[in-house]
Amino acid sequence: MFGTAVIVFREVLEAAIIIGIVSAATRDVPRRNYWLFAGLMIGLLGSAIVAASTDVIAEFASGIGQELFNAIVLGLAVVMLAWHSIWMSTHGAELAAHARNVGANIREGRSESSILMIVVGLAVLREGSETVLFLYGIAASGSDTLSNMLIGGFIGTFMGVAVGYTIYAGLLRVPMRWFFATTATLVLLLAAGMASTAARFLIQADLLPSMASPLWDTSQLIPENGLFGMLLHSLIGYDARPSGMQVMFYVAVLLLILTGMKWAKSAHKKI
């Protein structure tokens, strides 16, 4: 039961942190909760489908289907978060100022809400499918009683969601002056971290060279399987033993999005 709770917690935590940050960042988007819920449902449904077709996915592309799948899901999420960051860098303040009177913004708000839905859906899809497989494995092998498994799963989910919600509630308390800068930074780091993980999957599939692996090793200082390491991993993409390629992906995505935000801002001012 305890083991189940820990593993489920780990999977749920990552998705919950992503959802917490993205929800806070889009708090003024009209009908946000509706889109959030839709993303959650799509992600859960997708998880079950992905889990059921694990062997098919794994054999796809001569055995590297799983890596490709993960890299694509992460890549899509990075693109969506980049889009969000660039769009928010010009419209975020307006959206907040006219939160009660969003008539003019509603079309733009809609594209933002579909981004929210997709990011949430992708996060749940990736972590959810592993959870489903894990729980299925326990149930199939009978190594734990069903009630123990369910209790463990519930505790793990509850704890993960609690952390995600704490981050969300904490962000909402950030004063308006700093709110956009704070959420923008978090979304940026989230995207960079996902890019680094995507690179790791492509290296594992032998589609990319690792380049200096590991570039550094901080596993003694902050182990990745400790609570703090897990939090850092989900928040900023912390990796105790990253390869050179992962770090390159991380920095490249960071710079690309920052450049995009700057460019959008200066283009916006000219109008």
Partner: protein, 105 residues
């Protein structure tokens, strides 16, 4: 001319510059062998064969690898080039029993 033929014949070998291949078998939620020696300093292809009906996740923090292995199926995973040393791995779904170590020499 003979030289050219020789090059042509060798090209596919270069393309597939076959990495050394090693196999780990999962049975009854245990790895066999529990300790696998691989050459250090080169990329290695690892096959993980799951003979159990339930899925498993091959995971190693030291190798920075994770991959799900469905029940009764095989995955391949590329590791290294590794520095000489010991690299523990686990089957995350059955951590209590599924443990092993890759030794790079």
């Amino acid at each position: 001319m003979k030289f050219l033929y020789a090059i042509l014949l060798l090209t596919p070998l270069v393309g597939f510059a076959a990495e050394a291949e090693f196999t780990l078998v999962i049975k009854d939620h245990k790895f066999e062998p529990a300790e696998l020696v691989v050459p250090a300093g080169e990329k290695v292809k690892l096959l993980v064969v799951n003979k159990d009906a339930s899925p498993e996740e091959f995971e190693s923090y030291t190798l920075n690898r994770e991959k799900v292995v469905a029940g009764n199926s095989t995955i391949k995973i590329y590791i290294g080039p590794l520095k000489p040393g010991r690299y523990p791995f686990i089957g995350e779904f059955n951590q209590a029993t599924a443990q092993g170590v890759i030794v790079a020499k």
